[in-house]
């Protein structure tokens, strides 16, 4: 009998221990950024350590990130204190984010704060860190740069010549492009290729200048490694030397510089007839309406904007600060290489910034898909450029109307949904 009672008590204790979750003291920072294992380690050890009480930093893939947040919103209660994500990730949650106007974010520039409003009147997210895309080349490829070309001020034509020369000299295509499933190729078309030729992302989507842009890219594609449809992180192929010249996000080429700093050089994206177009990547922090402790969440947001935190974040993730601050000298090789290249690109005389899409809400993914599909049909499937652009323009037009999103830079501002001419 006694044994039975003991057994029963043990069973109860075990069941209870299986059922209870732990007591939450640290706020949960639910993020899609700093996922690579070394980055999240540094986030936890170096960046989050300074917050009183500590922070539970959990990076996730987009799927689980979104599903968990949606579940908490539907259930009406949750454990997520602060959300971290790219502009695109946070746009889809717009309506459920708390207004952050109370936070002191004067050190962040007004243009970026504007992005953080997600088209509404409130401050839905505060910019947390920024990055952009760069070109990287193996030093071995430098000998094939065309006569008279300066890699810090290339044009697309010069880039194509360079890629061709390298391919011919080495016996195989050596240009790399992240056309893989996790690759950020759509940002290249939205923010770099098309604006450089058409001075627009949306309105001039099917103009004749856009046709020229795609023809140029088709030329460049001849010298691109055909396995590019598997590439999501150019640092891998740069280090194995499958690829000698590449375009990718600064955080996805960092490892190449950190492993072999003397073998690679970073330089700005090329320029087209309309200018040197580039697109900044913004990651933001937001607070969901189901956050368990609003005060704690706000304090954490404020903490992420401190200069020390911003610099530590730079060391951890290769994403640059959103506030103006002096960088110390002991930055990792990737930052030291990327910094000057980014400055050269953003400060160039013909610099043409193309902003992230605004006001698309949860249609951001479908917007990106238009450009991805255009790429796949024109470049991979070899279809007629004019036909594809006309087809896809229909889709784009319908999307802009459905989202009711006005134009954003570099497109001219519009009344009502952004038109596709």
């Amino acid at each position: 009998m006694k044994m039975l009672r003991h057994l029963r008590m043990t069973a109860v204790a075990v069941t209870v221990s299986m059922l209870t979750g732990p007591v939450l003291a640290e706020p949960l920072f639910w993020s899609t950024q700093a996922k690579p294992i070394e980055e999240s380690q540094k986030m936890r050890d170096a960046v989050m350590a300074g917050f009183p009480g500590g922070v539970d930093y959990q990076p996730s893939d987009e799927g689980p990130w979104l599903t968990r947040m949606q579940a908490e919103l539907q259930a009406g209660s949750g454990t997520i204190a602060v959300l971290g994500g790219l502009h695109g990730d946070l746009s889809s949650l717009g309506g459920d984010l708390v207004d952050l106007s109370g936070i002191d974010a004067t050190a962040v520039g007004p243009a970026m704060m504007e992005l953080g409003s997600l088209g509404s009147g409130e401050q839905k997210y505060i910019p947390w860190m920024q990055a952009t895309y760069l070109m990287v080349a193996n030093r071995k490829a430098l000998e094939f740069v065309p006569e008279g070309a300066d890699i810090n001020a290339l044009s697309y034509d010069q880039l194509i010549d360079w890629a061709r020369a390298t391919a011919e000299a080495t016996g195989g295509p050596k240009f790399g492009f992240p056309a893989g499933p996790q690759g950020l190729k759509h940002r290249f078309f939205q923010g770099f290729l098309l604006p450089a030729y058409t001075r627009s992302t949306v309105t001039e989507f099917r103009s004749d200048a856009a046709v020229v842009a795609w023809e140029k890219f088709r030329e460049l594609w001849q010298y691109t490694n055909p396995a590019a449809t598997n590439y999501s992180f150019m640092q891998e192929q740069l280090v194995t030397e499958e690829v000698w010249i590449a375009f990718d996000h600064v955080a996805r080429i960092a490892d190449a510089f950190n492993q072999r700093p003397d073998d690679f050089v970073a330089f700005p994206a090329p320029a087209g007839p309309e200018g040197r177009a580039f697109m900044p990547v913004i990651a933001g922090i937001a607070v969901p309406r189901t956050a368990p402790d609003m005060e704690q969440s706000m304090a954490l947001v404020q903490y992420m904007l401190q200069p020390e935190t911003q610099i530590a974040t730079l060391r951890a993730t290769n994403f640059f600060p959103v506030i103006a601050t002096e960088l110390p000298d002991d930055m990792p090789a990737s930052v030291q290489a990327a910094g000057p290249a980014i400055a050269a690109m953003t400060g160039a005389a013909d610099a043409l910034p193309a902003l992230l899409p605004m006001g698309l809400g949860d249609k951001g993914g479908q917007f990106n898909q238009v450009y991805t599909d255009t790429f796949e049909r024109i470049i991979l499937a070899g279809q007629d450029i004019r036909e594809v652009l006309d087809d896809q323009a229909e889709v784009l037009r319908a999307l802009m109307v459905e989202a009711n999103a006005p134009c954003w830079a570099p497109d001219v501002a519009s009344e009502g949904p952004c038109p596709v001419n």
Binding site: M18, I37, D61, S232, E236
Partner: protein
């Protein structure tokens, strides 16, 4: 050719066939460990070496990663509960399917099979909402319940196929010898069905161990190893991907090693 030499030739073919199959299975595992145990520079070099250089840099980073041991323990607990639940719930159902004929039998079998045919990431959202509302969120038991649902089809169908192979006469003989139904089941059927139980346990463990999506959504503080690591590994530098992949596979390999004997029936008892 004389009979013995035909047999010898046949044996040689047999041995060659077995050797080939073993090579086929082991080669990719070997390569996984080669990359996991090599220096990062070698992992990204060309041509690749086929022998590891026993450089523990990647693996030691991996194991030094804070939170790995907790996550490992969580994974073990979830897998253990999944095993117990899936066999405890699935074996009786498998027995019922094999021994009885009743209305609803086909419908039930269908339901069991269809559970596996629907993509889990879509079910994760309603499940997470339900768990948050009922307090099962972020618990070992909660995740184990989801994993059991994934493993149940295996447990039910495998035990069903095994019970089907055990003649009813054996049970009936036990009844006539004075056992009641339960005793007959435990003393006669269960030992014979041990391979089915073992196979179900293997599947339950492996399914639970390797499951990522539900674990990533349903656990926050009590993260399992896959939720904690696999998402990070996907975007990490190549050497760490291999180190992580190798480390994740080891516990499963140990478990299968431990139960391998039980996958065989007890010879002699099956013969009448």
């Amino acid at each position: 050719m004389s009979a013995p030499s035909v047999r010898r030739a046949g044996d040689r073919v047999f041995v060659a066939g077995v050797a080939l199959l073993i090579l086929w299975v082991l080669l990719p595992i070997w390569l996984l460990f080669v990359n996991a145990l090599s220096a990062p520079a070698e992992v990204t070099a060309f041509p690749k070496r086929f022998i590891p250089s026993f450089d523990l840099a990647s693996l030691s980073f991996f194991f030094g990663f804070s939170g790995v041991l907790d996550a490992l323990w969580n994974s073990v607990r979830v897998a253990a509960v999944t095993m117990i639940l899936s066999i405890g719930v699935g074996a009786p159902a498998g027995y019922a399917l094999s021994r009885f004929d009743f209305p609803g039998k086909e419908a039930f079998r269908f339901l069991v099979v269809m559970t596996r045919a629907f993509p889990l990431p879509l079910l994760a959202l309603p499940l997470a909402v339900m768990f948050i509302r009922t307090g099962l969120d972020d618990t070992i038991l909660g995740l184990a319940l989801v994993h059991t649902t994934l493993a149940l089809p295996f447990a039910v169908l495998i035990t069903y196929s095994l019970f089907s192979g055990i003649p009813l006469e054996l049970e009936e003989a036990a009844w006539t010898l004075g056992c009641n139904r339960v005793q007959a089941f435990i003393k006669v059927i269960l030992p014979l069905a041990a391979p089915g139980i073992a196979a179900s346990a293997v599947f339950a463990f492996v399914i639970s161990w390797n499951e990522v999506f539900a674990a990533a959504v349903l656990t926050v503080e009590n993260r399992t190893l896959t939720a904690f690591l696999l998402q990070s590994l996907d975007v990490s530098p190549l050497p760490l991907k291999f180190a992580g992949g190798a480390a994740l596979v080891l516990p499963a390999l140990f478990f299968i090693f431990a139960v391998r004997k039980y996958l065989f029936a007890m010879w002699g008892i099956a013969n009448r």
